[in-house]
Amino acid sequence: MTPFQHLLSLSARILFLLTVLIFIAHPKQSRAIEVDLSSHLVAITAGFSGDKILLFGSINSPGEVLVVVRGPDADFKMHRKEQVAGIWMNTATMRFEKIPSFYAIAGTGPLEEIASPTTRALNGIGFDHIGLELPVTKAAGGIAEQWKDSLLRNLLRAGNYQLASAEIVFLGEHLFKTEFELPANVPTGSYSVSVYHLREGQIIDARTTPLSVSKIGVEAEIYDYAHHQGTMYGILAIVIALVSGWMGHLAFRKG
């Protein structure tokens, strides 16, 4: 962390503290933001092919709204292909550690217009502020930039990252709704859905609500069994194959 970033994060904390103090000082005032999701649990079952989550919320004064959905951190590997003797093969690999496995933004307007650069930097909003940059020890300058751009491009293409500005719809003066889509290969884990109320590029209130994505039922049991009881799972797979092969033989003989 550079001294500048340090200062920023320090001032962010002070700002947060001030906000909290203001709210404590005005107990009469109701919560500025109310938020709820159509579901706090996304269950990946046998029929899962992606899901839509509906978000409803209200603000009690005019302003812009920004919704950020962030998935659990994960490690990603990027491969770069190059032509070697006429054949395209991976010649370089870069590992990105602890970056969000899912990141979606929706806003009442384009992100750059409704949130000031400082606000975005302080609160870690937007693809420039979620730690996609490589440490200088791994790659520097233009090379690092290329890796980062390609990572972002691939994550956007895969649906892990989504940038859908101006997707928030107001139903009347205070009530708003938005929808975000979880792809079929959505990473499992604990998500956070943050709703920001902004005015003139500054955050005046924020609210975060949890969202859990997990495998449920038979699918989850098979996955857990495969990963924790690999030996037994392997034997089971072999037995199933042997039995079904034998049954196939019987069917053949009769037919």
Binding site: D75, K81, W88, M89, N154, S244
Partner: protein, 305 residues
């Protein structure tokens, strides 16, 4: 109707999976081959991660080989002594192969190596099969007679030590030979997700000089165990065997194979060989093109847990 595959972690149309199993099963029944060489590339094409496709297909090979071996066993067409020796080599080979697979996966080169193995080994066999088929078909047109089988030849490898007598196959050859062939095919079957019949069968006929009648039953016998070893090791080391996917493919392939076998029985062997050769060359050609064509994005992504 979509189904979520728990290990592959993707959602695939259940009808598509059944159709794939049925189609490949039909062809494998028609040509009397395992079909792994078709299924693995198709699975990868549908979006199943290559590691999962290869390991799950190994699991499938067990089932199709078991259902095939019974008939040959009853006719006495399994040389068990030869089978066990091939198997010993196959066990070591497939264990080494799964190790290589894990290593290549970590290096990010597994997709390339799978593709290259297909193009080189399967492509060569397919090309040979196609040429031989063309020759046989045109030959028969000219003379109207049956083609004469290849004679048993003596090569340098018949001079290797550790000679053994194989009564069933009427052979007196070095045990190192089947051991080596089993080892090599074991490595390939672990990396490519195939039974290895397409290499094993020609090797047994041309290198070992086994009677053709013995070859299919004996190779199926040893493939069962090698595939079981691959399945077990992949499940244990890489957690890449998807039981749900394997079962769905199985249902289709058992049914498809029944139709294939019936139609195959009505067709001439030379034509079948020619068609199979064309099919194999097409699959390999597609894989080879994939290696040559400039990718849309030079960068690719992989999530690490």
């Amino acid at each position: 109707m979509q189904i979520y595959l728990p290990i592959a972690e993707i959602s695939v149309d259940i009808i598509l999976l059944l159709a794939m199993g049925g189609g490949v099963g039909f062809l494998s029944g028609l040509f009397g081959v395992g079909g792994g060489f078709l299924m693995t590339p198709i699975l990868i094409l549908v979006g199943v991660p290559p590691a999962v496709a290869v390991a799950t297909q190994a699991n499938n090979v067990i089932a199709s080989s078991v259902s095939g071996v019974f008939a040959h066993w009853k006719r006495g067409n399994v040389d068990f002594l030869m089978g066990w020796i091939l198997l010993a080599g196959g066990f070591i080979g497939s264990t080494v192969g799964v190790g290589i697979f894990t290593l290549l996966k970590n290096l990010g080169q597994i997709d390339l190596v799978i593709n290259l193995c297909y193009v080189i080994f399967l492509g060569t066999i397919g090309l040979l099969m196609m040429l031989e088929g063309i020759k046989a078909v045109s030959h028969r047109r000219k003379t109207g007679g049956a083609r004469r089988g290849k004679l048993h030849e003596h090569n340098w490898f018949h001079g290797l030590p550790l000679k053994m007598r194989f009564r069933k196959s009427r052979l007196y050859i070095s045990a190192l030979l089947p051991l080596g062939i089993g080892f090599f095919v074991g490595i390939l079957s672990a990396i490519m997700g195939v039974g290895g019949g397409f290499i094993l069968v020609p090797a047994m006929i041309y290198m070992l000089g086994m009677p053709t009648a013995m070859v299919i039953g004996t190779s199926l016998f040893q493939i069962i165990f090698v595939a079981a070893n691959v399945t077990f090791l992949q499940a244990m080391q890489n957690q890449t065997v998807d039981i749900v996917l394997a079962l769905l493919l199985l249902v289709g392939s058992v049914l498809g194979a029944q139709f294939g076998t019936r139609i195959g029985a009505k067709m001439q062997g030379d034509w079948l060989r020619l068609l199979l050769g064309v099919l194999v060359v097409m699959v390999c050609g597609k894989l080879f093109l994939d290696l040559l064509v400039t990718p849309a994005d030079f960068y690719s992504l992989e999530m690490v847990r």
